[in-house]
Amino acid sequence: MTSTTLAVTMVRGPGVVRRLIARPPTAIGLFVASSVILIAIFAPVVAPFAPAANDFEAILSPPTGTHLFGTDELGRDILSRVMWGARASMQAGLLATLIAVAVAVPVGLLAGYYRGVLDTLVMRVTDALLAFPFLIIAVGLAAILGPSLLNATVAIGIVQAPKLVRITRGEVLSLREESFVHAAVADGAPDRSVIFRHILPNAINVLLVQATVILPFAILAEATLSFLGLGVQPPTPSWGVMLTAAQPYLGIAPWFAITPGLAILVTTLSFNLVGDGLRDVLDPRLER
C-alpha cells in the first residue's frame, strides 16, 4: 500500500505551489508580489507617515533617517506614499484583470464552441480593437467615462479583453475536436456541460497564465493613465500620479521619481516571474 501511495504521489507530483517555489526566479517573484499585495492591504499600518501628511521642515528632502526615500515637493514622505500608492496599483491590476477575464472568457468560449456568425462577428470586433494602439482606446474610454481610478481600471480591462478572447477561442477550437469532447457528446452531454465541465477546465491553465501576463500590464497601464491625469486624482497617491508630480524636479530631486518608478518596475517584474513559473509548472505541453 505504501509503495502504491508513493507511486501515485510521484505521478501526480507535489502541489503546484511547492513546484513553483522550487524555481528560484519564481520564488523571488512570488515573495515580492505577495509582499506588495500585503503592503497594499496594510498600508495604514506599515506606512511610517500618513500619505498626505506634510513635513514643511523637509520639502524635497533627500533620503534621511526620518524619510528613508526622501520627501516630495509638499514635504510628504515618499516611502509612505509609495506604500499607499500600491493600493491603487493592486486595485487596478487585479480588478482590470478580473474584468478582462469576465468579459473575454465567456465570449471566447461561446465563439469557439458555436462558431458560425457569432464567431465571425466576435473575431472582426477583436480585430478592430486590436488594431488600435492600447493608449488611444484607453485614453478615449477614460475620457468618455471621466477620469477616476475605477474608470481607468474598466478601460484597461476592456482594452485587455480582445487578446484574451482570441486565446480562449483558440483553446476552445482545439479542445472541441479532442476525443474526450466527442466522447462526452456521445454520452449525451448537453452543450453547457461540454463547455463548462470538459472544455473550460482543460483551458484553465492557459487562461490562468494569460491572466498573470495581463496583471502586470494593467499595473503599468494604471500608472500610465494616472501619469496622464486620467486615473487616480491627486492628492490620492498612486505611482503614476507621483511620477507626474516628480517630473519638474527630475534634475534636483531624482529620488522623487526613482522610488515610484522602481516600485512599478519591481512589481510588474515580480508578477511576470510568477506568470512564467506558472506557465512552466501548469502547461502540460511543456511539462509532460
Binding site: 501515485v8 474526450f180 466522447a183 462526452a184 449525451g188 456541460s193 509532460r288
Partner: protein
C-alpha cells in the same frame, strides 16, 4: 422478436468544397437483435464510422443522412428531437471509441467521469454515482476499483483506460453498445482481454453490440453476425461461421486471404493482398465498386449494380458471381 437496432437503407453523403459530394454510406441495412454482436467489417474509408455516427446522430459538419431509417426498438431516431437524442446517447446507446486515452477527460478522475453520466441520465446524487462507478469498474475487471475510481486517466495504462471507457459506456445499462474499433489502439494481449470484457457484458447485461472493426481476428472472436462493407455499400452479410467457412463475395474472400493464419500459413509465405485501394465514391454507385479490383469481374459487373441477395438463409451477398471458390 423486435430487433434492438434496425438500420434500413441508410445513405450518408459528405459535402466537399465546390458542391461536390462523397457518397460515404449507400443504402445500408442491418439489424441487431438483443444480446447479439454484429460486426461491421471493412477497410479504412469504407464508411464504417460514418454509419456508426449516423446511428448516434453525430455526423461531422458537412455530412448528412440522405435516406433511410434508424430504429432503436420501435423509435425512429432520425425523427427524434435533439433533446431526445441527448437522452438516447449514453442512456440507450453506449459508445466506446478507438483510443481510450484521448477519449477520457484528462482533468477529471475516472469516478467523476463515470459519475457524470449517471448523474445526467439517472439523476443519481453524486455520492451514489461514485459508489456505482466503483461497482462498474469492478464489473469491467479493474482490480482495486475503490482506489482506481479516484485516479486520473494518465495514471492508467491503455488497457485500464479502455476498461474505464467501457464502464462509462455501460453505466446506464444501455440496450446497445456501439464499439468503434475498441481494440485497434491496444496491444494484442490487451485486445483479447478487452474483447472478453465486451463478450461477458453482453451476456450479463443482455446488451446488443455493434462492433466496428477492420480486424477479422476480432470478428471471429466475438461476433455472431458480420456485415462486410465496401465503398459505402454492404457487400456481404452472414453468420460468423458461414462467413469464415464459405465467404461468397470476392471482396470478403480477399479480406480473409489477407489474414495470417497461425496454423495453416507456411512460414514466410506472403499474405494474399487485394490489389488497389478502396475508391472514393464521388457519385452514387451505378456498378459494382469492387469490379476494378475483382478477379471475377466481367462486363455486367462494370455496368450494373449488384443488390444484396439472399443466397441461403442468413447469408446474403451483393455479387453477380458469388461463391466460395478462389
Amino acid at each position: 422478436m423486435i430487433p434492438v437496432l434496425d438500420v434500413r437503407g441508410v445513405s450518408v453523403r459528405i459535402r466537399l468544397p465546390g458542391d461536390r459530394y462523397v457518397y460515404a454510406v449507400d443504402d445500408v441495412s442491418f439489424t441487431v437483435n438483443p444480446s447479439e454482436v454484429v460486426a461491421i467489417v471493412g477497410e479504412s474509408g469504407c464508411g464504417k464510422t460514418m454509419l456508426a455516427m449516423s446511428i448516434l446522430g453525430l455526423l461531422p459538419a458537412g455530412a448528412e443522412v440522405t435516406a433511410g431509417e434508424v430504429r432503436l426498438g420501435d423509435e425512429d431516431l432520425r425523427r427524434a428531437t435533439p433533446a431526445r437524442m441527448r437522452d438516447v446517447r449514453g442512456r440507450q446507446i453506449g459508445t466506446i471509441f478507438q483510443e481510450p486515452m484521448p477519449s477520457l477527460n484528462p482533468v477529471l478522475t475516472i469516478g467523476r467521469q463515470i459519475g457524470e453520466v449517471l448523474e445526467r441520465h439517472e439523476r443519481l446524487p453524486s455520492r451514489s454515482a461514485r459508489a456505482r462507478a466503483v461497482e462498474l469498474l469492478d464489473l469491467v475487471g479493474i482490480p482495486d476499483a475503490r482506489r482506481r475510481v479516484d485516479q486520473y486517466p494518465h495514471e492508467m495504462s491503455g488497457g485500464m483506460a479502455q476498461r474505464a471507457m467501457i464502464a462509462m459506456a455501460i453505466a446506464c445499462k444501455p440496450r446497445l453498445l456501439l464499439a468503434d474499433e475498441p481494440t485497434t489502439a491496444l496491444d494484442v494481449t490487451i485486445q483479447a482481454a478487452i474483447l472478453r470484457v465486451i463478450d461477458d457484458l453482453r451476456r450479463q447485461l443482455d446488451v446488443a453490440v455493434v462492433l466496428i472493426t477492420h480486424d477479422l481476428g476480432v470478428v471471429a472472436d466475438v461476433a455472431d453476425r458480420v456485415l462486410v462493407m465496401y465503398a459505402g455499400r454492404a457487400v456481404e452479410q452472414a453468420g460468423v461461421l458461414d462467413l469464415f467457412a464459405a465467404p461468397q463475395h470476392p471482396y470478403t474472400l480477399g479480406l480473409l486471404g489477407a489474414v495470417r493464419h497461425p496454423t495453416r500459413t507456411r512460414p514466410r509465405s506472403r499474405l494474399a493482398e487485394i490489389p488497389g485501394i478502396v475508391p472514393t465514391m464521388l457519385a452514387p454507385a451505378t456498378a459494382c465498386a469492387f469490379a476494378p479490383r475483382c478477379p471475377r469481374a466481367d462486363n455486367r459487373c462494370r455496368t450494373e449494380l449488384p443488390r444484396l441477395e439472399v443466397l441461403r438463409p442468413g447469408h446474403a451477398a451483393a455479387c453477380f458471381h458469388p461463391g466460395a471458390g478462389g
